[in-house]
């Protein structure tokens, strides 16, 4: 015999739903029509009786048509699911308090303590265990170890990733265990959107926090700076520092560029001002990519020292090439170069022209002249390093007692500056430079021969055919033709190339020391570059070349602008380039870079041998070396094992067929910490808020008991058979219907209604 433990009312009529609505509407219509027909009836009691009878008739008719019945059922209770989420993020490695166990250990201990209580709940709910951090992952069981390794904490993401109706069983509740140190959508606290998302989960979340939120810790929370800065322009680095549980203290902050302190500032923090934002400013004095580190001291008893420094890479670029143009006397050569430099928006030109020598007689008192003293000391002692390029054009240094400043110029070039000497009667040997401290940085040296004033057509050397300075055409042939079309020029300082210099343009037949006298020669000197132009008639390539109506001054402009780009090491003219895949990487990440090498003619150097070294940028200590070869496109990818925290330089040296192509470098910063590890403070208040919004309870793990759990009631579902018993097929109901209809008909007749 079947046993039923539940029942419910059902309609047994096979009508579709819309038909039932039509029938109900008809019944209502019947009542309304009756009401309209009874309007002439003055006696309210009669109207009420007749209308009541009509309504009862309609209800009885509907009852028959709808066929109501009772369904007897067999039911069962389905267990809901209780999800237990355990924090597996890296911040759980931190201690719950000074000198205490880690938060992860505390969480494990708590779970062990409340396991009996959880087992109790297992009678009505199924327990599911998960770990969360970067994402939600199921655990094999309650005893599964949760290693705190995730480099992010996304609480809301984890809650939303929980399966809602797994296996037909609904989620009845959540127990969330962790430190609350969210660094995803709840990183800045509870927002309106986050509240909505939590409410839409439709389940109470009970929370348990580990750590008391009073960790003693000083942290550099954030460092904000532009991706790039302009050289010689002030850069501001915005640093947010926070201190928890440290009392009042003055924290000295330091900004370092690869070990060299470039800015310092102190910030006062205390219980009432736990967070401060300060600006550290400095003026970068050279271009390139550098690793900067903002650091604060590590105090005793801090939860972590990893967040006391922050590293970033800053690319320092030049806004404009700053050129110092020093001219011995006004000339057409100076005029055309000045016009070119002045008209180039990328050049910031500072000029000093000697308009009057000691022998000149202006025949006017000083106040009637516009002349200014030549500020030798200011330029060559104080400002020299602010220039990207220094040009000496037919300039005699001796009358200005510059002997003592020339060593500065030599050092300036050695340290990365660029220098050009342009010919004339006061340049090179004629200007006494062969005996000066800058003789060693010049690409040419005097041979004691007199100036040659003969007109000549300079000749390109093999190096000059491909060099970016003298490459006037798109191809070697076009370059050769372009130079051949330029007008011959008069006059040359007769010199010979210094060892290591590269001659790009030479005199066709004036020979010095067995070599053709250089017209244009270049040299790499230390970290800088120099160029010698041993004529003062390069302006012929502009003005005289324009007389024919072909080409105009474009070759002159191209020559000089390419020279400037090469001299100031325009990155586009570098033959070996190193480009880090990522310039700032989190800890324990391999360092990767792409290296491209070009031949002398700037074509991809296939099969070039690359020696790639990874150096510590601060100490210069080598870390690792890799040797590899470029592919058909002249590039190769290098990857170094994670080197630890700090600033690193990837330096590549390329060689093809035994000929060195050059070197290139890039920098990579390995951050001391991630956002996950940097935030040492637990956030119990966030977990409490989550519980409050969703209707759950919240408690500290130290209570060693479960928080209030408002679990959804288990669902009851029908199982097995059911039996329908009709209610409409009752005899007395037929009598009731007949009585109502008959009664109404009789009373209508009797009271005079149709």
């Amino acid at each position: 015999m079947e046993t039923f433990d539940d029942w419910k009312l059902v309609l047994l009529a096979p009508w579709p739903r819309w038909a039932l609505f039509v029938l109900a509407a008809l019944a209502l219509l019947g009542v309304i029509l009756a009401a309209r027909g009874l309007r002439p009836e003055r006696r309210r009691s009669r109207r009420a009786i007749l209308l009541g009878l009509r309504a009862a008739s309609m209800l009885a008719l509907l009852f028959f048509v709808l066929e109501p019945g009772v369904r007897h059922l067999q039911t069962a209770t389905v267990k809901g699911r209780l999800a237990v989420l355990v924090d597996g993020s890296a911040s759980m490695e931190l201690p719950t308090g000074e000198g205490r166990a880690s938060r992860a250990a505390e969480a494990a201990e708590y779970l062990r303590a409340v396991m009996p209580a959880l087992s109790e709940l297992e009678r009505t709910h199924t327990l599911e265990f998960y770990r969360y951090g970067e994402k939600l992952q199921p655990l094999s069981g309650p005893g599964a170890a949760v290693e705190p390794t995730d480099e992010a904490t996304d609480i809301l993401g984890a809650l939303e990733a929980l399966p809602r109706g797994q296996g037909g069983r609904r989620l009845a509740g959540v127990l969330l265990l962790g430190d609350g140190a969210d660094n995803a959508s709840l990183s800045r606290g509870m927002t309106r959107e986050a509240r909505e998302r939590l409410r839409s989960l439709g389940v109470a979340i009970s929370t348990v926090w580990t750590g008391d939120g009073r960790a003693r810790d000083l942290a550099i929370e954030s460092v904000r700076v532009e991706d790039f800065a302009f050289v010689r322009n002030t850069v501001e680095v915005e640093v947010t520092v926070s201190a928890a549980g440290m009392g009042s203290l003055e924290v000295p902050l330091s900004l370092q560029r690869e070990g060299e302190v470039v800015a310092q500032k102190s910030v006062i923090l205390g219980p009432k001002q736990e967070r401060q934002t300060v600006k550290l400013s400095f003026v970068p004095d050279r271009i390139g990519e550098f690793v900067f580190t903002v650091s604060a001291p590590v105090y005793e008893g801090e939860a972590t020292a990893a967040n006391n420094s922050e590293t970033f890479v800053l690319k320092v670029i030049r806004d404009r090439v700053r050129v110092l143009h020093v001219v011995g006397r006004p000339s057409w050569d100076q005029r055309f170069l000045r016009t070119l430099l002045r008209n180039d928006p990328n050049v910031d030109l500072i000029s000093f022209y000697i308009l009057r020598t000691q022998q000149d007689q202006p025949r006017a008192p000083e106040h009637e002249l516009s002349l200014i003293p030549f500020p030798v000391d200011e330029i060559f002692d104080k400002q020299l390093w602010s220039f990207d390029l220094v040009v000496f054009q037919n300039f005699n240094y001796r009358p200005y007692r510059m002997d003592r400043y020339l060593p500065n110029l030599q050092r300036y070039v050695q340290e990365g500056g660029a220098f050009v000497m342009i010919g004339g009667e006061n340049a090179f040997g004629e200007g006494g430079y062969d005996q000066s401290p800058i003789a060693s940085i010049l690409p040419v040296e005097a041979v004691g021969a007199a100036v040659n004033e003969e007109v000549f057509a300079p000749r390109l050397t093999e190096a000059g055919l491909r060099h970016p300075i003298t490459r006037l055409g798109g191809s070697v042939e076009a370059t050769r033709q372009a130079w051949e079309r330029l007008p011959p020029i008069p006059g040359i300082n007769v010199t010979r190339p210094r060892p290591g210099a590269q001659v790009l343009l030479e005199h066709p037949h004036v020979v010095a020391s067995g070599q053709n006298a250089p017209v244009v020669a270049v040299a790499e000197v230390g970290r800088g570059r120099t160029m010698a132009v041993t004529t003062d008639a390069s302006w012929y390539w502009a003005m005289v070349a324009a007389r024919s109506g072909e080409g105009g001054a474009r070759h002159y402009e191209r020559f000089w602008l390419q020279a400037i780009r090469w001299l100031v090491r325009d990155p586009d003219l570098t033959r070996v380039r190193v480009q880090a895949v990522q310039r700032t990487v989190p800890p324990r990440t391999p360092l990767a870079a792409t290296i491209s090498a070009r031949r002398a003619d700037y074509a991809p150097a296939e099969g070039a041998r690359l020696e790639v070294d990874l150096f510590d940028a601060v100490t210069g200590a080598p870390v690792e070396r890799k040797v590899l070869e470029t592919g058909p496109d002249g590039t190769a990818r290098v990857e170094f094992a994670p080197p630890g925290v700090g600033a690193f330089k990837v330096v590549a040296r390329a060689e093809l067929g035994g000929v060195e192509l050059g070197t290139g470098q890039d920098v990579i910063a390995v951050r001391a910490t991630t956002a996950e590890r940097g935030e040492a403070r637990a956030r119990p208040e966030l977990l409490q808020e989550i519980a409050e919004i969703t209707g759950g309870g919240s408690i500290s793990s130290t209570a060693r008991k479960l928080p209030e759990m408002r679990l959804l009631e288990p669902e009851v579902v029908e199982v097995g058979r059911s039996e329908d018993r009709p209610l409409w097929d009752r005899f007395w109901l037929v009598l009731l219907l007949a009585a109502c209809l008959g009664g109404e008909w009789v009373l209508r007749r009797r009271w005079g209604h149709a």
Binding site: R335, D360, H367, S370
Partner: protein, 245 residues
């Protein structure tokens, strides 16, 4: 003995008076004035440019060629000498197409033209007309006295020449610099000396002081041609402002 002392004295005198031969790097590195030749009275003030070259060499560090060149206006050789001087007493005849084309390239690619009216202003007016053909679309206008031309070497407050017919200069700007300057005050008349070393013309109304201003303007024009707006550089401004006060 007397003769020897006299010779020595003469040598010292000559060394002081004659312009220093600047040790320039061939002729083309010097400033060579070119006098433009055209059909008409193209050289009304002989010796003017020679004297200006002398004064520029004596007063400044510019190395000048002692003698000017004379070239026709359609000569390609003009391009070796970017300072062109054009003078006349009567209107400049309409330039040929070749002359216009040549001067257009000359001024566009860096040349400098000084037009000097030695007459009654008709030459200056005709130069302004021809400049409209040479550099069409460019505006010819007055050069204000705060222009760098008036401080390129000497601090000047006004232009002057043999006369003060017009108290201003006009000019045409090309590529950010003055490519042509027109004077109606007969600069050459103030500069010129005869074969015996005497001034060729009297300067009116200001006499020798006005001649000095004319020379200073000549020096400034030469300096401007070579240095353009150098004296407008920021570094010079405090000094110049102080001296102007």
């Amino acid at each position: 003995m007397k003769r020897k002392a006299l010779a020595t004295g003469l040598l010292v005198f000559v060394s002081l008076v004659l312009p220093r031969q600047s040790p320039a790097f061939g002729e083309t590195s010097r400033l060579v004035f070119v006098q433009g030749r055209y059909d008409g009275d193209w050289n009304p003030r002989p010796g003017a440019l020679r004297r200006l070259a002398f004064e520029v060499a004596v007063r400044t560090s510019i190395a000048t060629a002692p003698e000017e060149k004379v070239l026709p206006l359609d000569s390609p050789e003009l391009f070796f000498y970017p300072f062109l001087y054009l003078s006349g007493t009567r209107p400049l005849p309409a330039l040929s197409r070749a002359e216009v084309e040549n001067l257009r390239r000359y001024l566009t690619f860096g040349g400098f033209l000084l037009c000097d009216d030695a007459g009654d202003g008709a030459f200056a007016a005709s130069c302004e007309r021809e400049l409209g053909r040479i550099l069409p679309g460019r505006t010819l206008g007055r050069i204000p006295t705060d222009h760098v031309l008036f401080k390129s070497f000497y601090l000047l407050s006004h232009p002057a020449g043999r006369t003060l017919s017009r108290p201003y200069l006009t000019g045409v700007v090309e590529g950010g610099r003055l490519a042509a300057v027109i004077s109606a005050n007969d600069l050459g008349g103030a500069w010129a000396r005869d074969e015996f070393g005497a001034w060729s013309y009297d300067v009116v109304p200001g006499g020798e002081a006005q001649r000095e201003v004319a020379f200073r303007l000549g020096v400034n024009l030469a300096m401007y041609a070579l240095c353009t707006d150098y004296k407008d550089d920021q570094v010079h401004l405090p000094f110049i402002m102080k001296r102007r006060r």
